[in-house]
Symmetry: C2
DNA sequence: CGCAGTATATATATACCGAGTATACATATC
DNA sequence: GATATGTATACTCGGTATATATATACTGCG
């Protein structure tokens, strides 16, 4: 997920400069993770290059000027179009675990190569650990009074992990 | 998923040049999708820079020389280590749909903004369509006698889509 | 039949782009 | 001396598009 539309979304509510935007994003949009300034600034540059935002400089005493960005009309249109269109996760028929399984099978017999069973076992163990981590994060979030929306991100993480675990079972049936 | 370890895996079975490797990858490792030559060659260059592979030139008449790559000892070690370690998908607590939902809510009321309900509905529709696509691919694969392993990739795709649909239900409960 | 034109296979290299990380540069405040 | 305010630059990595050659195979037309 790129940060591009997140920036546009914040700018739809009014002009802001990069430093502010970073803080808002971390609070509202990607809670539980953090961003890099370089990413914010270069994304804003690209948005400006593409005519989706403009900036004006606001002078300050004893500090670098602020670059206050605002969404252009084209930016508003683009944002609305993006909100209306479903996410474009392109099916993704390549998968690292699958690759490991294929390689483990074809390399069977070579010096100290991992077996396909071993791969499945390692992945399963790791996934269970992650599932546990997520559960803990969720518990801590509940304690800290984290808003329900944020917990949704954790829900998604565990649903994904569960799906992956189911898939590992299926792999075992088919391959072993 | 990067192509780096896939290349190393193929080279573990013997030396090959870029052009061959591309074909093997498409056949064995990322069936159902295709690769770009630039990616193969630049990944091989990086592997060589990092001491994981070496190449020697094999002259040919009337054609460019082949660059035949072979896995180094360090490469073998790295490959085995990678095969032993579980996939490192880092939990990923950012999600495009979540972003859309947050923005739809906070922009509610602005000019022609999409509602959160609308976002969920659009995502759901798109996911069902994809699920249908996957089912069709699966059917065609079965007809074409596609190996069972390849079908596993389709299984993963549908398990993921189902998990995502469940999550959308959950979003609706929490947000609407 | 022959020939021109076109697609495809063999083989690599380069330029470019977007996303993300690391780091440098300033100053003020706690 | 750490932390907050503010921006900029260089770099890496994964990936796409395109340029550069040549050989072979197919296709249609006169």
């Amino acid at each position: 997920m790129s940060i591009k539309h997140a920036l546009m979304g914040l700018l739809a509510k009014g002009p802001h400069h990069g430093y502010e935007l970073k803080a808002s994003l971390e609070e509202q949009v990607v809670p539980l993770s953090s961003l890099n300034f370089g990413q914010i600034y270069s994304t804003l540059d690209r948005l400006e290059r593409d005519g989706l935002v403009t900036h004006r400089l606001v002078a300050q005493e004893e500090r670098p000027d602020k670059k206050v960005f605002a969404l252009t009309d084209a930016g508003h249109r683009e944002l609305r179009a993006w909100l209306r269109s479903p996410s474009t996760v392109p099916l993704d028929l390549r998968n690292e675990t699958f690759l490991k399984l294929m390689l483990a099978r074809s390399l069977a017999g070579l010096d100290g190569a991992q077996s396909a069973q071993g791969v499945v076992a390692a992945e399963r163990r790791a996934s269970f650990e992650r599932l546990h981590e997520v559960a803990q994060m969720r518990f801590r979030a509940a304690e800290a009074g984290t808003p329900a929306e944020v917990v949704l991100l954790l829900d998604l993480a565990s649903l994904r992990l569960e799906a992956f675990l189911k898939w590992l079972d299926r792999c075992e049936e088919v391959l072993l």
